[in-house]
Amino acid sequence: MARFIVIRLLQCVVAFFGILLITFFLLRASGDPSTLLASPNFSLEQVQALKAELGLDKSWGEQLGIYLNSIVHGDFGESLLKKKAVGIMIGDALPNTLKLMVPSFVLAMILSFILGVLAATYRDSWWDNLVKFIAVLGQALPGFWVAIMAVLIFSVKLEWLPVAGMDTPAHYILPMGTLVFFTLPGMMRLVRSTMLDVLDSEYIKMARIKGLPERTVIWKHALRNALISPLTIIGMLLPGTVLGAVITEQIFNWPGMGRLLVEATFARDFPVVQAVTIITAILVLGINLLVDISYAWVDPQIRYQRT
């Protein structure tokens, strides 16, 4: 187990630096932020001065060195655009994103497991068809469109929920619903099909032979085994959820990392984009690691073999 975790950690570190480098160079290839910051009336000299001030006149290699050095010291630099410490900006935005994403993700997982399992259990029933329909619908509609429709229906038309903001629990309903809508269908489908495979297995037959009630067969014997392959997918879903978060934050005016990222990318606010990427990468990699470790919890074979 320790070996496994160490190897995964090493892989994460490699992946992390890969991501860091790709971002660093792509960003610099994407253009020069000094042109954005400069007023249209600046002279060429002024622009050069600004560049020098921002450290953008150095070669990419030098810039990378400086950057890596400051990262090691925990310093994400200062936003070019907002003249504010990136650490503080991330500190403001990250909790907001987590507040939205964590419960949505957990909710989506729980719902997808419950719905997926029920659909598999009552295969071909109206319930199964309903679940399949929701899954297919969820995969067929553009997410932002659904979000805006939700606003128009629940906020504008019915006036049940606030449109945007994050002040009260009611503000969480629509964005969370949207995020759940992003993740739920795919997950639900997967749980359903894994569950179907598991239900076909011999040990489920054996559990029934024991005379166990269906409830126990499903929720004790089948589900635990059906958890394994959706767990792998959770890791793969995460980067996709980032997209969901960006769109959700944009529409529901949620001041999180997604919005920060979009704004900063278009403004070529290098330090901010890099910091957001780093944080996202750490989150994604970290959660992937957790997922890997949680296999061990679900599947004793892995737990024991890797000891």
């Binding site: 253009g31 249209p40 403001d92 907001n96 419960p103 957990v106 945007a164 920060l260």
Partner: protein, 534 residues
Amino acid sequence: MKKWFLVPLFVLLATVIIFTGCQQEAQTVTQTQTQTQTQTQTETTIPEPWGTLTDVAATFGYDNFDPNLVSSWSGLMFQNLMRTTAAGDFEGDVLQSWDLSADGLTWTFHLIPNNFFTNGDPVDAAAVKYSIERFADSARSAWSPYLREDYNRVAVNVVDSLTVEYVTAHAEPTLVASFSATAIVNKADIDRVGEEAYFANPSGSGPWKLVGYSTGISVKFEANTAYCRANEVPHFQFYQQYLVPELATRISMFKTGQCDILGLDDYARMKALQDEGYPVEQYGINGTDSFAFQKSWMEEAGPVHDINIRKAMSYSLNRQEICDTWYSGYAIPGGQFFFPHGVFGWTDEIVADAYDPALAEQLIAEAGYPDAFANPIITVYCQASDQDRILYYMSYWQAVGLQVELKVMETATYWSYLGFGPPPEDNIGWIWFWKSWSYACSAYHCANMYTTNGVHKVTNDETANALYAAVTTQLTYEAAREKMAEFQVYVKGLYTNIGVVEYQNYFLYNPATVGGFDGRHTGYAETIQGATHA
């Protein structure tokens, strides 16, 4: 290892996160201001401000509270040296009056007495001198070229606590425009806490003071009841603006009453909402919608090197139809760049070109288009947000036989191509659209546009240079204004910059909370300032 307890634990965790999140205040700036500004307000008859006016914005001007860096909102918190009037003239803001010496070299500013910053410091000559010099510092100001020492300034002198003298090397009456952009910051406070702390929590002398700000989320101002113009103290106690990037969300917020003010770029939507019963309020001076030709004087520019083609592009536009359709009637045909009605140097001689497709076709034929050109395709560049409008304009050009193609650029690239810095590619002959909410004084923008030294590289014309030099060397403001008009008429004739329309600026407001706007309408901030209760 007991396992199932993890699931409820997870749920619990999620719930805790949600609720702690909800309880946390969205504000990050906590204002602990000393309330010392009561002495001037003894004889006031104005009712205490109350209530909150909520506004939404697509982009924020509040990333930084240094008025020299971000000028669009500075009128909320800071007074300027001078300010514009609705007619396009200038009056004092922190000034009671000013004099210009007969030789046109010395400006004497007389400050309003008993004017205080919101922290109680007086608005005195030292603060004004510091603010002017700070504004002139190129490192600190976006607009500093106008006041920079090497341009024209000789000295800024403090005469007494309420008088400041500004001396120039040669006469430049158009400096009033710069003065009107010079925000007065609190030098004493900066000396006390340092620039960084000051601009995180600034004290100005404007009608509002900052009470809360969270980066990229919202900003909140409270009415400054000690504002030096008692009759201009806001009726609302708070003015809060949220950053909402998504238009659909902004409209929804407005319709559900989550915000009281809604500004829109989309005039059709505005018209529709107006028809639904939401009133609109016009503010400020008209904006201009125009397009420019980069380096059109160069041979390689292709078709647009030929003035006939450029003229044809103007004559083929049906400006009235554009006003009626795209702008839903909230615009009038316009003829010049940065020259809407009422600005410095406006003259009635500048008339928008009439819609004359026959003339356009004739001009095109005269230019020998398309056969005379190796590459007859005219390329138009724009940002994604403008693409629909440009596409529409292009349809007029296509209708008279011009071959046009559109290239959409991401905003950052667009600006970087547009004049400063070494462009990634040589942008000769390309067409750029400018949609600008214009400044009260267009002189400097014109200089940048039309003179050889200008950064935008549209015109390279000696006569234009000479005419502009004549403007800046007049002794009086009135004379300069006349020269400016002359210059403008001339540069319009160059067709290197073609105006399409002058659009009017409006916002919608919620009649349930806002009764109207009784203040000055010279700009967005000034209009909002006068919002009355319903």
